[in-house]
């Protein structure tokens, strides 16, 4: 019964139904991730050739990227969901800071066991995210505004717990923080392992569950997603809940990494997370990107930090400058790619 159009394209209608190869390559959504991966590789090789004699080639230096940036990776994974859905979450850094305070206080001053503190702080973060998602959806307020309010709220709550930083000398915490998972060529911290597990879970959710595909659809076109009969509200609220959860988890990892709570921990870290997501090739307008790209985004940012450390004489502010330059470059690339696709 398929006779009209299955026959080779009539001369009047040339290749209309199969996009050209070059168009498909340029339009390929994996391209930005590949660009970031290539950038990481190039930077790594450059580092190798420059600091070879200082042990840059040591496999542990590479693994340290995960140890030193595990919390950022977790936060950035949460941010990836939000940005993919076309939203933004500015409360990430504050929730991380608050979680360090909350856990430090609960462990140190209240004396709860770590095993209880972990689920409590995760639940608090997730609930905060849920509330923000609920307000965003039900009152149709810009995510930017709502999460900005969240940013102030959680930062303020830090000070409600204590105005001073709380050092942790709990033995459970320090033994967990010092635990290392041997890998043959080196070792990873618990934090790094957790971050990688979160990454893998996020990849699975985004690509193999209906929820994940809904996140892409809503980011692609919210109105269409609604008309296609997708549950808009539930998905959006879930996305912000997940981001809150990831922020709290990142806060836990940060607390392990630093072994203290401080009302000023992780100020502005939401911007690092967003930068990692964007450098990783996710479109700020939503609907396009990969969580694997976010991994490379975090690694690139981490690598900049280590290179600057190896350099020795450079101020750490150069990290910010390099991040800014990269961010500009990647946003320009995105811009070119999206306009190219339209024409």
């Amino acid at each position: 019964m398929s006779t009209t159009t299955k026959t080779p394209a009539a001369p009047g209608a040339p290749e209309r139904r199969t996009p050209s190869r070059s168009a498909r390559l340029l339009g390929d959504r994996r391209l930005p991730v590949l660009v970031t991966a290539a950038l990481f590789l190039a930077m790594y090789i450059a580092g190798l050739s420059r600091y070879q004699n200082y042990g840059f080639g040591d496999s542990q230096v590479f693994l340290n990227l995960f140890i030193d940036n595990g919390y950022l990776l977790v936060a950035a994974v949460g941010a990836t969901f939000v940005i993919m859905s076309g939203g933004i979450d500015l409360s990430v850094g504050s929730v991380i800071g608050f979680t360090t305070m909350l856990t430090a206080w609960l462990v140190q001053d209240v004396g709860l066991p770590l095993l209880l503190v972990i689920p409590i702080s995760l639940a608090v973060g997730a609930f905060g995210g849920f509330l923000m998602g609920y307000v965003i959806h039900n009152f149709e307020i810009q995510p930017f505004i709502v999460t900005l309010a969240g940013l102030f709220l959680f930062r303020g709550l830090c000070l409600v717990i204590s105005k001073e930083s709380i050092a942790i000398d709990d033995s459970e915490v320090s033994s967990l923080a010092q635990t290392r998972v041997p890998l043959g060529v080196g070792e990873l911290s618990i934090g790094a392992v957790v971050a990688l597990v979160v990454l893998a879970a996020a990849f699975y959710v985004l690509h193999y569950t209906r929820f994940g595909r809904r996140v892409y659809a809503i980011g692609g076109n919210e109105q269409s997603a609604l008309l296609m009969g997708l549950p808009l509200g539930g998905t959006k609220i879930a996305v912000y809940t997940m981001s809150g959860f990831c922020s709290a988890l990142a806060g836990l990892l940060f607390m392990l990494y630093i072994q203290s709570g401080d009302p000023l921990h992780a100020v502005g870290m939401e911007l690092d997370a967003i930068a990692a997501v964007v450098i990783g090739g996710t479109l700020l307008t939503g609907g396009s990107g990969y969580v694997l790209g976010t991994l490379f985004g975090v690694l690139v940012l981490g690598l900049i930090k280590s290179i600057i450390q190896f350099e020795g004489t450079l101020s750490s502010w150069w990290t910010k400058i390099a991040t800014g330059v990269l961010l500009c470059a990647f946003i320009l690339i995105q811009r070119v790619m999206t306009t190219r696709k339209k024409t």
Binding site: T4, R24, R29, Y208, R210, R213, L227
Partner: protein, 512 residues
Amino acid sequence: MAEPQPVLEMTGIVKEFPGVRALSGVDFRLFPGEIHALMGENGAGKSTLIKVLTGVYSLDGGTITLDGKAVRIGSPLQAQQAGISTVYQEVNLCPNLSVAENIFIGREPTRAGRIQWKRMRKEAAELVDRLGLDIDVTAPLSSYPLAVQQLVAIVRSVGTGDSDGEGSGTKVLVLDEPTSSLDRDEVLELFRLMRQLRDEGVAILFVSHFLDQIYEICDRMTVLRNGTLVGEHMVRDLDQVGLIELMIGKALDQLEELHDHQLHADVGESLMKAEGLGRTGGIAPFDLDIKKGEVVGLAGLLGSGRTELARLLFGADQPDSGTVTIGGKQVSMSAPNDAIGAGVAFCSENRKTEGLVPDLTVRENIILALQAARGWTRPIPTAQRDELVAKYIKALDIRPANPEARVGQLSGGNQQKVLLARWLITQPKLLILDEPTRGIDIGAKTEIQKLVVSLSEDGMSVLYIAAELEEVLRLSHTIGVLRDRKLVAQLTNGPEITPSKILETIASGEHQ
């Protein structure tokens, strides 16, 4: 044949938007195994009725019965679960996802919560194949042109409820103007598919502004006008002229009145010439020659392409084909600025959204176009500006005659005059008026029409678009007749041209 029970029955449907009553007490019913046309001019409320039915808009009154049971449909998701699949007028897919995903999203085949991509692609390919289409389902939707995207939307709606045994299968298929961007072959494909589904017992609600398509495929039709039900008819019982009368709400002989010609005769040489000008999805290529001092009227149903034609002449839309010459010189009409530079002015039909700035004063609104033409770096001297504004307020009798009044507070007719003044001040050679008299009172209407006559006597050319045929007829030297986005005839006005003659031309699509 005794009438079976309707699968869908809507009674007394009311829907209000701020300031607009889009539906007032509409009844509608749909039988299994029929293709039912929902007819009405643009803005009659067709899309709104569909969105109320499918839970996009909430109901302000009335009931919906599905299979004899009263239902409340609160969201598009619930509509789908109740067996109503919809292709909305605006393409409603996600361009960032693949074709297969667009077909299946929300009901992807899963095992233990995990999406089975292979199976999904295979089933999508089969579905596309079964419908006789040749589309690579793994490609992103955005890599296809709009027409193919439209087809994918249709495939999705047909496939709804297919997998996993979820949903109850499609009982009602709603297609809101699905053919507007399809070419003839694609329309035929769609029709074949629609017949196939009808024969399987699906009830199909079909909206199209192409009358021929209605007569080709539909069994029954419901006609709406201004949000009210006009009637339900079997298609075979109502001819096209009768249908148009129902849609615009006037009997032919009523239109015959008010018909006197006092058109001035000194039409000059050619001013603007369009040759083969056209735009896919907008209007088919047309030739049009507007002479100096001539009034060219455009007649046709709402949605027949009148505005689209005007927008092409003004450079507001990009043509795909054809050329425009003004005063013998070819001009590229790639932006309104080109047209303005060549002496073309355009009064949009949406004076609120596209024309006037309601929060600025009358003076500021009037001066806007002139200032734009001079460039923003060269302000108009205050004295000259005030003089000009005063002159046009007086000439057009804008009330209140206060240049400092906020435009938003003026009545519709006076707003229209402000918009006119804005363009007249730039002294255009060709003035395009799109529905200048819509929604204004009868007094202001007559004044605007008088103004058009006097402008053309002074040598200005006017392209005049109006819904009311007698208005077009009274003012125009030449009448372009549009139908289904095509300029089907150009009639030279004369005693033998009557509203019924024009209506016949619209209905038959040719000039007898």
